[in-house]
């Protein structure tokens, strides 16, 4: 499950946020700190996770830290019994 989840999120980030196809990311790539995803776009990423897994992530849990890498997002999803 966890590997499928990783792939799902990595593929989504690559498709939606990377301009350069040759750029590679993995589960520990810093997304927000690196500027790949800015704090505004984070909302779309949050929406993606919410829609995909039919959960609602409260604002206090939707921190820049929680979305800074695919690993961090998976940890967040674990709190909702998704991962």
């Amino acid at each position: 499950m966890s590997d499928d989840l990783k792939k799902l999120i990595i593929d989504y980030v690559k498709k939606e946020y990377l301009d350069d196809d040759s750029e590679e990311i993995d589960e520990s790539t810093q997304l927000i700190s690196s500027g790949i995803v800015d704090s505004f776009s984070m909302v779309a990423l949050k929406t993606f996770l919410e829609k995909k897994f039919q959960i609602s992530i409260p604002d206090e849990k939707a921190t820049t830290e929680a979305f800074d890498s695919v690993n961090n997002m998976i940890n967040l999803l674990k709190e909702f019994n998704v991962a």
Partner: protein, 566 residues
């Protein structure tokens, strides 16, 4: 007591000539502001002083002295001339916060070009609109952003040069030229273009309620205001380590992220990284930042993390804190006093004003939640919205208005003199914001006087979003309004009526959000979408945004007599 000394005394006796004298502005016929940000500082004996310390998100660092930025900007200016670019042509800077962005800003000015800085997170449509309007002939960019330029190049006949600063060995396409600043031929003596004080310098695009974004045109003598405001409002001295968190794609990032500090011989630090509380505090601690100029949104994000992360770092280096971009709420001022032992000072200005016009000054009492008082040399009032006459009664809300004539005032909107003229009423420049003035002369912000959305300190035009939304295959009509947000003050909310055959669903909502994010920018992306069967309109068919906005803010909807239907 800061550099300004006694505010009352300075306000009473102020003349802009004071700044002219300090800068020796115009000496030997030199008015080009780039000279004052590099050569002049070297001539003052600070050639070896650090001008810029840059850090990337992975911790990679670069350091440049004033002599370095002098030589590199000379090299850039020469490179532009060698490519046949002429004075007054528009040259866009479309890069993340890398050293080349800061230094090429001076390079363009040195050869007489007009700099057009654009936020690198802009999508291709936002980029196209602004490049087309300015008939931009060249653009500096990086491999990260070149795809956006390639997508629109065929629609931009005037865009002849794409300078890629990090191409390395990568294959480039037609019109693309690799330019490696640090390997460029250094030029010890570049003949700086003899721009007059009224010669155009920087073209910054800003959004309005209607129409496309407009280019506010500034001139080289804006330096007179930017220098003295950097000294008195930001309190910069040559001993300071200064961090301005603004991106030079916006006016704060050029007026006070390049011109103000460098014309003052200050060492500035730049962090090219996304927001991260620990990274930010570590950056301040590591570089011993003394003056920090940031935005309310960032302060509120830091507040969310509480005092704990602050205590984990030594923040005693900070001596003055300033904020800009949107009103700074009283809670943020009180919080900063508690955790940093000093308050954030709110400052107010706009793309069009080019420099700070109202602020809380160092050494003066900060009234939490207030914008502060007018800068010396600035006559600021609130006027009534009908006759545009100053309101004398303290506490009465009116439109913020400034007496024209300060040095950094914009000189026109590019290709739109009519709109420029409309900004002036009864002899006043009307800022478009509402405020009141208390009996001690402090201004208190109330809100915008139009439909422009101020999100995290950036103005976003609803028209631009609505136009882009119409390009989505499922959207029949839409309205974009500001929705209250505890961190960003406002975020974009879109009301959307779908075309027949399309049903509201979660996937479509996400698709529309990403469509706008990529087409315009993350700032313009609706953070909330409400699907509706139709939008409220006047009988003449105009969408009543104010009704939708009022609903979001829990305000009175107001007069609905012109409403088409209920």
């Amino acid at each position: 007591m800061g550099n300004i000394g006694s505010y009352e005394e300075k306000y009473k006796n102020f003349e802009w000539q004071l700044s002219v004298k300090e800068l020796e502005y115009g000496k030997d016929g030199m008015y080009n502001l780039a000279y004052y940000c590099s050569e002049r500082i070297c001539e003052k004996g600070m050639a070896d002083k650090t001008a810029l310390i840059w850090e990337g998100f992975q911790g990679n660092k670069k350091k440049y002295t004033y002599n370095d930025i002098r030589l590199y900007s000379n090299a850039i200016a020469q490179f532009l001339l060698d490519n046949g670019i002429k004075p007054e042509e528009r040259i866009c800077l479309f890069m993340d916060r890398i050293p080349e962005l800061y230094i090429s800003f001076l390079g363009v000015l040195k050869m007489g070009g007009i700099v057009q800085p654009l936020f690198s997170a802009f999508g291709e449509e936002a980029l196209f609109t602004r490049l087309e309007d300015a008939s931009t002939c060249a653009i500096f960019t990086t491999m990260k952003h070149i795809r956006k330029v390639r997508k629109i190049l065929h629609k931009l006949p005037d865009l002849k040069y794409i300078f890629v600063v990090d191409a390395g060995n990568k294959k480039l396409e037609k019109f693309e030229i690799s330019f490696n600043m640090e390997k460029a031929q250094l030029n010890e003596k570049f003949d700086i273009y003899k721009a007059g004080p009224e010669f155009p310098s920087v073209l910054h695009y800003t959004s309005g309620t209607t129409g496309k974004p407009k280019g506010a045109m500034h001139v080289h003598s804006s330096l007179i205001a930017q220098h003295i405001t950097a000294k008195w409002a930001l309190d910069l001295t040559t001993d300071d380590i200064y961090w301005c968190t603004a991106d030079p794609g916006w006016v704060t990032g050029t007026s006070y992220g390049i011109i103000g500090p460098w014309a003052s011989g200050v060492t500035q630090v730049v962090l090219d990284s996304g927001f991260n509380t620990d990274k930010w505090y570590s950056f301040i601690e590591r570089h011993k930042v003394t003056i920090w100029y940031t935005a309310p949104t960032a302060i509120r994000l830091l507040m969310k993390e509480g005092a704990g992360p602050v205590k984990a770092h030594d923040m005693s280096c900070l001596r003055h804190l300033i904020s800009v971009g949107e009103p700074l709420n009283a809670e943020a001022v009180i919080w900063s006093q508690e955790v940093f032992k000093k308050p954030f000072h709110d400052s107010y200005w706009q793309t069009e004003t080019g420099a700070i016009v109202i602020t809380n000054f160092p050494g003066m009492t900060v009234k939490p939640g207030s914008m502060g008082t007018p800068f010396p040399g600035i006559t600021a009032v609130v006027v009534d919205p009908k006759k545009f006459e100053p309101i004398e009664t303290a506490g009465t809300v009116g439109l913020i208005a400034l007496k024209p004539g300060w040095p950094s005032m914009f000189r026109t909107y590019w290709n739109n003199k009519k709109l420029y003229d409309e900004k002036f009423k009864n002899g006043w420049y009307i800022c478009g914001d509402r405020a009141s003035i208390d009996n001690e002369g402090y201004f208190w912000f109330m809100g915008r006087d139009d439909d422009v959305i101020n999100t995290a300190g950036h103005l976003v035009g609803p028209f631009e979003i609505e136009s882009a939304l119409l390009e989505h295959p499922a959207v029949a009509e839409s309205a974009a309004v500001g929705k209250p947000d505890p961190v960003n003050m406002e975020v974009v909310k879109a009301f959307i009526a779908l075309k027949p055959g399309h049903e509201p669903n979660a996937d479509l909502e996400l698709d529309i959000m990403n469509f706008i994010r990529k087409k315009l920018s993350p700032l313009a992306m609706p953070q909330a979408i409400e699907f509706v069967s139709s939008l409220p309109k006047t009988r003449s068919g105009k969408i009543m945004r104010r009704m939708l906005r009022a609903k979001e803010w829990g305000e009175e909807i107001g007069d609905t007599s012109t409403l088409e239907n209920d």
